[in-house]
């Protein structure tokens, strides 16, 4: 009962009181109080989600609703896991925003930021706790609209509106698939309640099953940003304010993973036999291309956005392997792969929002997101720098940080594939180890570049030289997330044990995999070994001196002599040139004097093959159809009267003869 009330308090605070206090609050203290109430609401959300997740007792709320559209929220263990994810990322992001919003927006915009931020958190929480299709879709739509609003608070330049419309368009195309999926259930479940959908799924014919699976794959895949549905992601995430980018990349994408797990595992209990291969392929392509596109970027937020595509790819690799195990009758290993995917979902939420907050802190101090203008920031912003380093190590999947644990579990699930009886699965799954290893290697290269260019070495611009540490609340936000990354990296059992119990419900016939125990036992030992050795060596005091490097005879080294971000990634870009296919133009002016040019201009444009080969033809086709349809619109009133008449006649014919 107490938890019911806590959940009510969370919803009321985040959904009503905070937005009202921000938008309606006439005086500053009321708005400041609203900000604190938001944090209080999130803490309430964390506590109720934590209790439901660790104890496994669901909390149900019935909201007033019209009979045909039942609205009710239930926090079951899966929902609790995702609610915990949402709230535990929102809290540091909220704390970070306290000074970020105050510094970057004047009062009018700041109100909208806070109100929309609060509604954004509410919408995502509704999505993961909804227990009826209607509540789910309402939250889903609100989430899209509010996030678009948050992007537009920052400004409304033409470019921004263009990117936001692409975002809205693709989101609604995806939402259409999700709506279709729910309504496809209607004839079988006679309603939209999850409980009836779940029971109807057991004896669903094969045809609708396949269609449902594909709808869920496309619908949620669009939101998750898997390739080829990723087009909106590197456009929408970088232009949002940094705390919002953190929430969009860290949390909003995860609601799509939630939806896919809810449909694919909770409702459908696995897809057709080929579903595992489909999801694995989507994961592998997203992972590899995502990280390759990321390496080519030097705008920090676009780079991080592409890494979201990569990490969603890793999550889908786990989900795909789980579906493949399910289809081959190996629930035990399906459970392992699903645990890996869900844990990576949580881990990615922490480290990606940390990195986006770090990007916000960098742009706060240097006023630019271009890596080539950074450099030497660790000495100038030590707390931000250390937190960002933790984020880099986590996203690369280095041991002692949280990303490693989930990637390790994914590796181990692939390894189990060798024991399956189906030949194809037995070859494909172990080979996925190579794919995941390549993704990991590329991610490591990319983050050596990011951290090395932005935080280490000499400052590359006057802004970077003058940069200073960010205000305390921003630091607290980042440090909280960094601590989460380390905590889950060294003591993964904190989450894994409950996660295993959750997955036992989703995958019937499974028990807690032994891998959970083995990783939890070995990591602390590795930590002790590494930190012990390190401590001994750092304790040995030696004479140290700072001395300038010999500059090959020049007076001194300058920052221009350092490797740039572009130079760093050049070897990898050359080797993988077939992915980038850059369009390069070198122009010499005047053209008739190639050896004594007055000016040389160089232009290199990269449009991904997806835009050229997939989206451009699709858009052209839609526009062509629209032109044809426009012929109907003559603007002549007689013609419209004719349409009405024809419609009436055809309806009458239908009712009389065809029904």
């Amino acid at each position: 009962m107490v938890w019911d009330n806590t959940f009510w308090a969370f919803l009321a605070l985040v959904g009503v009181i905070v937005p009202l206090s921000q938008l309606g609050g006439r005086v500053k203290p009321i708005r400041a109080l609203g900000t604190l109430l938001l944090l209080a609401g999130i803490v309430a959300g964390i506590s109720v989600a934590g209790v439901c997740f660790w104890q496994g007792t669901p909390v149900t709320l019935r909201l007033p609703s019209v009979a045909a559209f039942p609205l009710s929220l239930t926090i079951d263990r899966l929902g609790a896991f995702f609610l915990l994810l949402i709230c535990s990322v929102s809290l540091p992001v909220g704390i970070f925003s306290m000074s970020y919003v105050a510094h970057h927006y004047e009062a009018g915009k700041a109100r909208w930021m806070w109100a929309l931020l609060s509604l954004f958190i509410l919408s995502m929480s509704v999505v993961v706790t909804a227990s009826t299709g209607f509540a789910f879709l309402a939250g889903w739509e609100l989430m899209t609209l509010v996030s678009a609003g948050l992007i537009l608070v920052e400004g409304d330049s033409e470019d921004r509106i263009h990117n936001v419309s692409i975002y809205l368009l693709m989101m609604h195309a995806g939402a259409a698939a999700v709506v279709a999926a729910f309504f496809l259930y209607w004839p079988y479940a006679h309603g939209l309640e999850f409980a009836s959908i779940r029971s109807a799924s057991a004896n669903l014919p094969a045809g609708p099953r396949t269609v449902l699976f594909l709808l869920a794959f496309v619908g949620f895949g669009t939101k998750a940003g898997i390739i080829p549905f990723h087009l909106w992601l590197p456009r929408a995430h970088p232009i949002a304010p940094s705390p919002i980018s953190a929430l969009m990349s860290g949390v909003m994408l995860k609601t799509a993973v939630y939806g896919f797990v809810r449909f694919g595992f909770d409702f459908l209990r696995g897809g057709p036999w080929w579903s595992g291969y489909l999801v694995l392929a989507a994961g592998a392509v997203s992972g590899l291309l995502g990280v390759l596109y990321a390496i080519g970027e030097h705008d920090l937020k676009r780079l991080l956005a592409y890494h979201s595509v990569e990490n969603i790819g890793i999550i889908y690799l786990g989900l795909g392997s789980s579906l493949l195990f399910l289809a081959n009758g190996a629930p035990q290993w399906a459970a392992l792969a699903l645990i890996a995917a869900l844990l990576h979902t949580l881990n990615h939420a922490y480290f990606k929002s940390l990195l986006f907050l770090g990007a916000g802190a960098i742009s706060h101090s240097t006023h630019t997101l271009d890596l080539e203008e950074h450099g030497g920031l660790l000495r100038r912003m030590p707390v931000t720098g250390m937190a960002f380093l933790v984020g880099c190590c986590s996203i690369v999947g280095l041991p002692l940080f949280n990303g490693f644990v989930s990637e390790w579990l994914t590796f181990r699930s692939f390894l189990h594939g060798s024991a399956l009886s189906a030949t194809a699965a037995r070859i494909v799954l172990p080979l996925m180890i190579g794919v995941l290893a390549l993704i990991g290697g590329l991610a490591a290269a990319c983050f050596v570049k990011v951290y090395g260019v932005a935080f280490l070495g000499r400052p590359r611009s006057v802004e970077a030289e003058r940069a200073g540490e960010v205000p305390p609340t921003m630091r607290i936000g980042m440090v909280l997330l960094a601590l989460n990354c380390i905590l889950l990296g060294v003591f993964p059992l904190l989450v894994l044990s409950s996660l295993a119990r959750l997955v036992q419900v989703l995958v019937p016939g499974s028990t807690a995999p032994e891998e959970i125990g083995s990783i939890s036992r070995v990591i602390p030992w590795v930590a002790v070994t590494l930190l012990g050795t390190l401590a001994v060596m750092l304790a040995a005091r030696r004479t140290r001196r700072s001395a300038a490097t010999w500059a090959c005879g020049l007076p001194a080294l300058t920052s221009r002599m350092q490797y740039t971000s572009t130079a760093f990634s050049k070897p990898i870009r050359s080797v993988f040139a077939f992915v980038y296919k850059p369009d390069r133009r070198v122009e010499l002016l005047p053209a008739d004097q190639p050896y004594f040019p007055a000016s040389i201009s160089y232009r290199s444009v990269r449009t991904t093959s997806f835009e050229k080969l997939l989206y451009r033809p699709a858009v052209d086709a839609i526009v062509a159809v629209a032109y044809q349809v426009r012929r109907l619109q003559t603007g002549n009133i007689q013609v419209y009267l004719l349409y009405i008449f024809l419609t009436l006649v055809s309806l009458l014919v239908y009712l009389r003869f065809l029904r």
Binding site: S418, G452, L456, L534, A547
Partner: protein, 313 residues
């Protein structure tokens, strides 16, 4: 006793690492008809460096000092995964090969960061080149180990070695030949040996690992050099234990341990001769041919994984 032996194995790999380097250098010298330095020379070098002062460029941050120390700690942890005298090691049954590979990646990540922190052109150059090589080496490394682990049906290194010990040497399958070739190529690339990187030159056009350590001096440089020697030693010992563990002690009797030590030293010497012959007879690959080299390793390791399925029948 097992614990003591485990600790001994780690110390053996770490303390013996400079000697491995010294012996390889000596064999190379002999192959080139030079007399060569003493095989104990690397110890003298380390001792000299440890006595010097530690210089850091003015622009550098704490990461610059952390990197060599972390690299050494990682090398030490990785040594705890490799069986030498008996088919077990401190972490070899608790951890698996994925953890070991990722520990090495942790060291490499910080080595590259330390190189970037120097603020000169060479560090970035080395880090960028190393990023390419280690990125491409990751997949064949893990796939090669995957192939042997599937054959042994055990993910832990101790389990694989224990399984290999029970096999007859003459029953060795195509999987092992493919995986061994792939992993040997990876070892050459990962430990910065010819034909991928030349450890004996400081030419800016070609150097990779040396470019990353260029800004370091004194104890930091000593730790870097020692750590990379340990890494080479650990990789060679890993090859021996995975593909030729015969002779290892299955009990803790002194005689068995003595035989194991002798067998290990003979196998190690053999590998060192092979390495020295390769380094003396092969030219360094052009930078952009290294992906082809590692591509071959990847293809071999993929074949090894696919063959595990056939070998089972």
């Amino acid at each position: 006793m097992t614990l003591a032996l485990g600790v001994f194995q780690v110390l053996f790999l770490i303390v013996g690492a400079p000697l491995t380097r010294g012996i390889i250098a000596r064999i190379k010298a002999r192959l080139q008809r030079r007399r060569g330095a003493s095989i104990w020379r690397p110890y003298a070098d380390l001792g000299k460096l440890f006595r010097k002062e530690d210089l850091a460029p003015p622009a550098s941050s704490p990461v610059f000092r952390l990197a060599p120390r972390l690299l050494f700690a990682v090398a030490l942890a990785a040594a705890a995964f490799v069986p030498v005298l008996q088919p077990s090691a401190l972490l070899a049954s608790l951890g698996d090969f994925v953890l070991m590979v990722y520990l090495l990646a942790l060291g490499r990540f910080f080595l590259a960061l330390g190189a970037m922190d120097g603020g000169s052109a060479f560090g970035g150059m080395g880090a960028s080149r190393d990023a390419l090589i280690s990125t491409l080496a990751e997949a064949p490394f893990l796939l090669g180990l995957t192939a042997v682990s599937i054959s042994a049906r055990n993910p832990s290194i101790a389990g694989i070695v224990g399984w290999a010990l029970r096999q007859n040497f003459f029953d060795i399958s195509a999987v092992h030949i493919l995986a061994f070739t792939a992993l040997s190529m990876v070892v050459l690339a990962e430990s910065g040996r010819m034909p991928v990187d030349n450890p004996a030159t400081h030419l800016e056009l070609t150097m990779i690992h040396e470019a990353m350590t260029l800004e370091y001096s004194g104890p930091s440089l000593a730790l870097l050099e020692w750590a990379s020697a340990v890494k080479l030693n650990v990789m060679l010992a890993l090859l021996i234990s995975l593909f030729g563990p015969w002779g290892m002690a299955t009990n803790l009797a002194p005689a068995a341990l003595g035989i194991a030590l002798g067998a290990y030293l003979v196998k190690m010497l053999l590998l060192m001769v092979v390495l020295a012959v390769i380094e003396s007879s092969v030219a360094k690959l052009r930078m952009y041919l290294v992906p082809d080299f590692l591509g071959v390793a990847t293809a071999l390791s993929v074949l090894a994984v696919i063959f595990t399925m056939i070998a089972r029948r």
